[in-house]
Symmetry: C2
Subunit: 450 residues, 2 copies
């Protein structure tokens, strides 16, 4: 596991330009590691102003399926940094878990794929049971468009029969899980301007518009205290899960009270009335505010009316919602709620539609079998409330079925302090992927190459 630890020590934070040298180091680390393992054509794909892609392949399993393996080497910022028990970029083992930023999302899980391939190459004298193409990006956490552009321009080069991604979580410890649906997202910032410059609230309180208050009023107009989104039309296109899916979810071992206490830790759960937690998180659109900028946020008191302020905001989308349409609905609602004296606009950072896969797909079924064999328990088909834009891109641009085999756990605290990966899951994940690729190689007929 030493190589993974070295990988985790690189603070490859893609959202912050201050870390661009570390981003590059992480990309070079992956490229060199794959070359050392026996992959071919290991290379960085560069683009000015973007973080490099890492590509590699092995294409000598004639007549066998070709699998595209995706992961990302970038990570979320670690703040609030003071809440980490061990520093985010000094991986530390405690109680069978590996703690570090990126341990689960996605460096550790990317390493499951890398290690599985390396083991197969070692065990089979440099041969693999299937054809493989790696494409690994460094802008997943910052919504960058490099990979989308590259995929669109290299459809032929990236042709495959299925994509495999390890960037999701198991439903619960011990339950091997495949994710059959992801929510989409619209992420952006509401920018508000009042006065021409910051003003003193004693001299101007009662006369100058306050953009922070305007943002509060706009946010309060977008979402009710009981969790309903108030944007007109937002629920119009929502496609509910099939009755069969609903039935499967009901059988999952899930206790709302345990979830509230152990995972969320709040006094009460929040969310849209009339739906259970799994449905709210997996199959209903939601709106969240992620931060307000502007005014004084240091220690102590400052009586300022800021000239400008902004709110980072996102909407999660479900199947059949169109991101462009939802963005327009959001922009209309912001305009309607904006108080006098304030100019407000929405700046889009990134968007992607929701995604789902047919549970009958043979590449999915083979993964379920492999994981069941390793974990000794039936593989659950679940959804995930998060957004993985690449799944939409691979699904749409390359027409690939995407197999989302996740080995994280729901309490891995990805995007939060003290992110971790359960080490046993890491090891079983590698075994599962070894088994899966062997199985795909054997049952070439079921998963016929195109």
């Amino acid at each position: 596991m030493d190589d993974l630890l070295r990988f985790l020590r690189i603070p490859s934070i893609s959202a912050d330009p201050a870390y661009s040298a570390d981003i590059r180091r992480a990309a070079e680390f992956v490229r060199d590691w794959l070359a050392g393992a026996g992959l071919e054509h290991t290379r960085l794909i560069e683009k000015s102003g973007a973080h490099p892609l890492v590509c590699a392949d092995w294409l000598h399993a004639d007549g066998r399926p070709t699998v595209l393996l995706y992961g990302h080497y970038d990570v979320q910022p670690p703040d609030p940094i003071e809440e980490w028990i061990s520093p985010p970029f000094e991986p530390t083992v405690r109680d069978g878990n590996l703690y570090a930023r990126g341990a689960a999302d996605d460096k550790g899980q990317l390493f499951i794929l890398m290690e599985a391939v390396a083991q197969l190459l070692r065990l089979n004298d440099g041969q693999l049971p299937v054809n493989l193409k790696f494409i690994i990006e460094g802008e997943e956490e910052s919504g960058g468009g490099h990979i989308e552009e590259y995929v669109a321009a290299h459809v032929g080069e990236l042709r495959a029969d299925a994509a495999v991604i390890c960037d999701t979580a198991m439903f619960a410890p011990g339950i091997p899980s495949l994710t059959t649906g992801l929510r989409g997202i619209i992420y952006g910032e509401i920018l508000a301007q009042g006065a021409a410059s910051d003003l003193h609230s004693g001299d101007y309180g009662g006369a100058a518009p306050n953009p922070l208050e305007a943002l509060a009023q706009i946010v309060a107009a977008l979402k009710s205290p009981d969790g309903r989104i108030l944007i007109p039309g937002i629920y119009d296109d929502v496609l509910p899960p099939s009755p069969a899916e609903f039935e499967t979810w009901k059988k999952l071992p899930f206790d709302e009270e345990v979830f509230r206490r152990n995972e969320v830790g709040s006094k009460e759960l929040a969310g849209e009335p009339g739906f259970g937690v799994l449905t709210r998180v997996w199959a209903r659109p939601t709106l969240e505010v992620h931060g307000f900028r502007g005014g004084y946020t240091g220690e102590g008191a400052k009586t300022v009316i800021p000239a400008k302020a902004s709110a980072k905001i996102s909407l999660r989308l479900v199947p059949n919602q169109n991101p462009e349409r939802v963005q327009k609905q959001l922009e209309d609602a912001i305009r309607t709620a904006c108080p006098p004296g304030i100019q407000a606009e929405f700046r889009l950072y990134s968007s992607s539609p929701a995604w789902s896969i047919d549970p009958e797909n043979p590449f999915l079924a083979a993964a379920a079998d492999a994981m069941e064999a390793v974990f000794g328990r039936q593989t659950a088909y679940i959804r995930c409330g998060g957004s993985i834009p690449i799944v939409g891109i691979l699904s749409k641009t390359l027409s690939l079925p995407c197999v989302l085999a996740g080995f994280g756990l729901p309490d891995d605290r990805i995007h939060a302090p003290n992110e971790k990966l359960h080490i046993l899951n890491y090891l079983e994940g590698i075994k599962s992927m070894v088994q899966y690729f062997n199985q795909l190689g054997r049952s070439a007929s079921a998963c016929a190459p195109r």
Copy 2:
């Protein structure tokens, strides 16, 4: 003016503990300067955990009035620092103005009093026409309680006939102004907690409560988009200005449209419907949000639902409003507006009631005469929407009439980037104070010492 420039170069930011050494340097600078000018008993009053007071006196004008001179040597934080044309702590002269953090609030205006006294001592062979006591603090911008405690414990030592403070603004260029009323303030932070730790909005959006949204909903419940405070009972105790005061204000040269364009610079003015701008700012309570903390506020996107968030908030109070009562009304309103799953509380940082002085007071009248003589124009009696807690303390604890002779201008941008002081006002301010102290010495009968 070299000494003032040296004083302005010290970044004596009282709200930020990182600047405590500079706070001390600024206090020592004032102490040493006053000693050099000929004041007696120049000393620092120390208290653990607090910024020092600077005290000095000259008490040899037997049978003449005793005047307490107040100022503060601390300044506001300079952020957003990138908006300063010249650096905040490198005083720079442009177009007859001196630009620096503290130029007007209050280092420059404190220096008007210090320079006036030093000139009188130089001109009169070390004698002064009145008895003087300086008390200068370093916690005015951070709401610290050192001076309040000290004044309460040294009522006898600080006995005087009137207090003189230069920490306000003239109504407009060329119009000498005395401030006869100040708003009070309640400043604090609403602290909100949802989940036990930060969570990912994909995995928990729709289930975890979001304290930033709760704060937005609370703020929206406290103040309407048209500027009315919605806290029940908030306007009950408001004492409106007298009809005579209203009449005086109507005669002031004030144009709302010019004010909007030149001072505020917003599309429209904000504020409580049914009142003119001067009344809204001088004689109506207002509520402002100064900053939201929590979540992600760096560059780019982070899909976090923060566990904790807070909002810095203040209420400005007018005569007859009781700060404790208003605080209770605010806390009740926060409790009522707090959505399910969130725990919210209000943490008070500082509070002070509004203040006003009888326009007939002889110390005020003498100041008006002196300023009229120097500026060649009738002195205006105005109010100020800001809060100067020390005025309430000197007024209440020492029973002193407070003469607020301000030489700032409304566009001095105190508390904001590019704070300035008009150099002509600085010089006329010194002349006015020299004239005032001479006049108080001559007309000892009108301002009889107690």
